[in-house]
């Protein structure tokens, strides 16, 4: 017995969800880009791509967000917080590597000060992921001990049917089960099991345990390895911005003498000014130290602090890098003979 969602029921699903006041988001594509965007009709979905260029974190952590408005008056300062509208959302068609990234960032956004922008959006969203049956040369989820159909972070996981007419549906969390129950006959049930396309075979590119061991070793920090491996890097920050787990941000007041808006903007540790102090001193003055920071943060510091690797193996960094960097090469070298 299996639960099925047929592709020709998608418009009905969208209509039902919208009727309940719930917005639908999903993978979209046009000539220039692909992203997770708002969906009002099933034809807007693009399930055919390996994964959207832009990561799922955009729907939870927008690239620029106003936090507070302020007005400076003669005797006082008036400040007003921006309040997120309570919007229920379903993200239909997330890739498993994107769904996992949300659980990785949860740890960071709950650490110390709880980020209400992130968690309010998390609480109001149901994640319906579609397992990958295709991959490209940049995918490396298996190297991170994950898989193309990992269920962590998803409320519902779909596997595409062999005849491509729909998906087999599996509830992963109670919220996911709720989602399925509420939609009732949008889903159908079969009496026998169904055949689904097998998950993509993603070859393992490096030994993660060896990488972790290498990064824990006492001599790695001062090693010249970082200089040689990062010589091509131009510090552009694209890898940070397309990475589903990267979460650094800058808070800036935008305005004039009398009124303005305090905003939270994406930032990147690859930028030269990222660690520049007001005195002018920069503890990470060259690209080698910044690249070292990137790798150590994702594969050592985050692991130490939160018990998770801050990478899901989606491969976006390698796909977009204008000078063909991306973490993969560094990790391969580290796991084999690098780090000397």
């Amino acid at each position: 017995m299996a639960q099925i969602l047929e592709k020709n029921k998608l418009d009905e699903m969208i209509a039902r969800l919208n009727g309940d006041g719930c917005e639908v988001f999903g993978p979209r594509k046009n000539d220039t880009s692909s992203w997770y965007g708002k969906i009002s009709r099933a034809e807007e979905f693009c399930f055919d791509q390996i994964l959207p260029d832009r990561p799922l974190k955009e729907l939870f952590f927008p690239r620029t967000e106003p936090m507070m408005k302020y007005e400076i008056k003669k005797q006082q300062v008036d400040a007003e917080n921006y309040v997120l509208p309570k919007k229920q959302r379903v993200i239909f068609g997330a890739r498993p590597c994107d769904a996992v990234s949300l659980t990785i960032d949860d740890a960071l956004f709950a650490w110390d000060a709880c980020d209400e922008f992130w968690f309010e959006r998390r609480e109001n969203s149901v994640i319906v992921s579609i397992a990958c049956n295709k991959k490209d040369d940049f995918c490396m989820c298996t190297s991170l001990k994950s898989s193309p159909d990992v269920s962590t972070g998803s409320d519902v996981l779909l596997h595409e049917l062999v005849d491509s007419a729909g998906w087999r549906v599996s509830a992963i969390t109670p919220a996911g089960q709720d989602f399925i129950d509420k939609l009732g006959d949008v889903f159908s049930t079969t009496s026998t099991d169904v055949s689904v396309k097998p998950p993509a075979e993603v070859p393992v590119k490096f030994d993660l345990d060896a990488v972790i061991r290498k990064l824990n070793s006492p001599e790695i920090f001062e090693s010249d390895f970082w200089k040689t491996i990062s010589v091509r890097c131009v510090g552009c920050g694209v890898c940070t911005f397309v990475c589903p787990t990267c979460h650094c941000f800058d808070i800036q007041d935008e305005g004039d003498v009398y009124h303005g808006v305090r905003r939270k903007n994406w930032d990147s540790c690859s930028f030269a000014m990222f660690t520049r102090h007001a005195s002018g001193h920069n503890p990470r003055p060259d690209q080698a130290s910044r690249w070292r920071q990137r790798i150590m943060h994702k594969f050592n510091y985050y692991l130490e602090r939160f018990g998770q690797i801050s990478c899901t193996g989606c491969g976006r960094c390698s796909r977009v890098c204008p000078v063909d960097m991306g973490v993969t090469q560094t990790l391969v070298t580290l796991s084999t003979n690098g780090g000397k």
Partner: protein, 149 residues
């Protein structure tokens, strides 16, 4: 009755020619539109494109840049550099959709109080017919709106 649209003009002018010319317009009691806010710089050569962008960012409907006639610059060649700069910047702004008719450049000498008043009046009239610079104003309004998602 709706209030007639009053365009906001920001004028970046040089101290030794146009500002003196504006002064002359004042002392001669010439009437000209009150829509202009004058920003005094030592020379048009000092006027950076950033100033224009800042004026637009703050809601200006039109921008005037004015200085000494070529050959008469107090600093010899500041206005000659400015001339090249504004040729390029104006064409860039126009290409991006910020129309030529909102960015005016003129040479007004210290003796040309009349010309200053005329240009301000002309510019105000023209901008009244063009209307407020709505496309830019929506950009400015949008930065205060909450994140869409």
């Amino acid at each position: 009755m709706t209030k007639e649209f009053e365009p906001k003009i920001v004028a970046f002018v040089c101290t030794y020619c146009t500002y003196a010319g504006a002064d002359l317009a004042g002392t001669s009691r010439l009437k000209y539109a009150p829509n202009v806010r004058i920003v005094k710089l030592p020379c048009t050569g000092r006027i950076s494109p950033m100033f224009i962008l800042k004026a637009l960012q703050k809601g200006a409907d039109g921008v005037l840049i004015s200085g000494c006639h070529p050959g008469d610059c107090h600093f010899t060649s500041g206005n000659l550099h400015a001339r090249r700069r504004w040729t390029v910047f104006r064409s860039l702004l126009n290409f991006v959709g910020i129309p030529d008719e909102r960015i005016w450049v003129s040479w007004i000498s210290a003796a040309e109080g009349n010309k200053f008043a005329e240009i301000i009046n002309e510019m105000t009239e023209k901008l009244k017919t063009l209307g407020p610079f709505e496309p830019y104003k929506t950009l400015i309004r949008d930065i205060e709106s909450p994140a869409e998602i």
